[in-house]
């Protein structure tokens, strides 16, 4: 058991390091910071340089409505970007072992298939979590300047409860789908299509009022996105079904992850058997 934990630990650490030394994760992080920065600058400018929180709290109803509209216009862009770039940032975590011909060396170690998959997954997750923390902090500081003082707890909840499970589950499924792909190019294409589909379908229905099976199954976790992201801006976006549907959505996400993981494990086993 100690060896398996050590192997997962090593893979987590070194996969994270390699991801940060490649371009895509930096692109993911910077692009989200830039997009958030643009939103916040527009918000501040539209308020005539007054911290938006001030006029949202005390301004005329029309001004408040405009501010909320601006934010809810940008949130889907951020959501789409998180899903798209988050998936692409880690897409080649498994194909690259074949691409760079490192697989024979890895296969020559006493590393079980399951540990290999878990190590790859946790390395990608650690890298993405670090990226989200950086985005959260920088965006938060920008927000403090643009909007003015705001409550940190709901803001943190938006990221930690809203973005984190959404990204981890979506990225996890995308990474495991990429495990089946023989080439990096194919992996990128599949994950791109997958993420685009999830994002488009996730933003199609702007207000999830009832339980919708397809929205629950969507790996983009639209219930989570709407409840924590849009709901942060306007509580009216929060589904009247309450947090239970959030737990249901995340639970389904975990089942999807497990399913994809099992298929990836079987696929690796079949590949080894064919050789």
């Amino acid at each position: 058991m100690t060896l398996r934990l050590a192997q997962i630990g090593a893979m987590t650490y070194y996969e994270m390091r390699m991801l940060w030394r490649q371009r895509m994760l930096a692109v993911f992080t910077l692009s989200l910071i830039v997009l958030t920065g643009i939103l916040l600058t527009v918000l501040r400018e539209s308020a005539g340089g007054i911290p938006a929180a001030t006029f949202i709290a005390t301004g005329a109803a029309e001004q408040r409505a405009n501010a909320v509209e601006w934010i809810t216009l940008f949130w889907p862009l951020l959501y789409v970007q998180i899903l798209l770039l988050g998936g692409l940032a880690v897409v080649d975590v498994m194909p690259r072992d074949r691409l760079w011909n490192v697989k024979p060396i890895i296969d020559g170690t006493p590393l079980p298939r399951l540990v290999y998959l878990l190590g790859k997954l946790s390395g990608a997750w650690l890298a993405i979590v670090m990226s989200l923390i950086v985005i959260m902090v920088v965006a938060g500081l920008l927000g403090w300047w643009a909007i003015g003082p705001y409550e940190i707890a709901p803001y943190a909840q938006m990221w930690l409860s809203g973005a984190l499970p959404l990204v981890l589950l979506h990225v996890g499924v995308g990474l495991l789908l990429a495990a089946f792909m023989p080439t990096r190019r194919l992996a990128v294409a599949i994950v791109l299509l997958f993420s685009l589909a999830c994002a488009m379908l996730g933003t199609f229905n702007s207000r999830l009022i009832d339980i919708n099976v397809w929205e629950l199954l969507n790996p983009g976790r639209p219930y989570v996105y709407q409840y924590f992201w849009l709901g942060w801006v306007d509580a009216g976006y929060r589904t009247p079904l309450g947090e239970s549907v959030i737990w249901l959505s995340v639970g389904i996400g975990l089942v999807e992850l497990l399913g994809c993981g099992s298929l990836a494990w079987l696929w690796l086993r079949m590949r080894e058997g064919r050789e």
Partner: protein, 288 residues
Amino acid sequence: MISISDLTKTYSGKVQALRGIDLEIGSGMFGLVGPNGAGKTTLMRILAGLVRPTSGAVRVLGNDVTTPQGKLATKAVLGYLPQELGLYPNLTAREFLDYIAILKGVTDRSTRRQQVTEVLQQVRLSDEADRQLKTYSGGMKRRVGIAQALLGDPQLLIVDEPTSGLDPEERVRLRNLLSDMAARRTVILSTHIVEDISQSCNDLVVIAHGRVLFRGAPRDLITRAREHVWTINSTGERPNNGLTIVSTLQLQDAVQYRVLGEPTGYAAAPVEPSLEDGYMWLMKNNEQ
């Protein structure tokens, strides 16, 4: 230490890479030589647990490598250098070796650090250890590959074309390193370079078309070619008559050919055969 019985491997139902190999390999340095496509790499990969045989039995240190448990047990004591070597370009050599060491089971940090330092010294990469691998030359990458195979103090070392890309000095150094390692473990060395075998192996196998053509000591292979190796100095055309030309040397006023066979009709001088001559003689007779 290694027991192979009636081993066959057929790829995609058509290409028969190994055809009924029977071998027993003990400790020491064991050479595996043969032409391209002979089945050497397939045999190495089966022994390393990377490829499943089509039929036959393979036991490595008592472990059946055709079972999942046997494979893992074998890999726990294995050092493997593949023919097609790949490394993570964004890691430094030290990081890469540290990573592989943990995967191989060297979980204690101080032991791992010591081993990584030692293997870097053995392959003379200590000064470049903190550079990213994408900045390394082909020969340096090969040395990193050798270093990772040495981690974990393996009981079985399988090295496929280890001297590929190395300059002569590095080749000699590596041969000496592998010979030192063979004192207390089994080292299986697969190579096209017969000289690597002659300098370091006391037991070798010649494989061609998936079959064992020869098993024994290098001197026995050399003996087979005795009285069949000649030099012919010619100012005219190349010797023919069924002779195999092993090497050609440009002299001042003639060309000296080293040939295998019966030099009927030529003024030929007998020479002592080398291991390369023995190998070529074996291949020549096998083709006939």
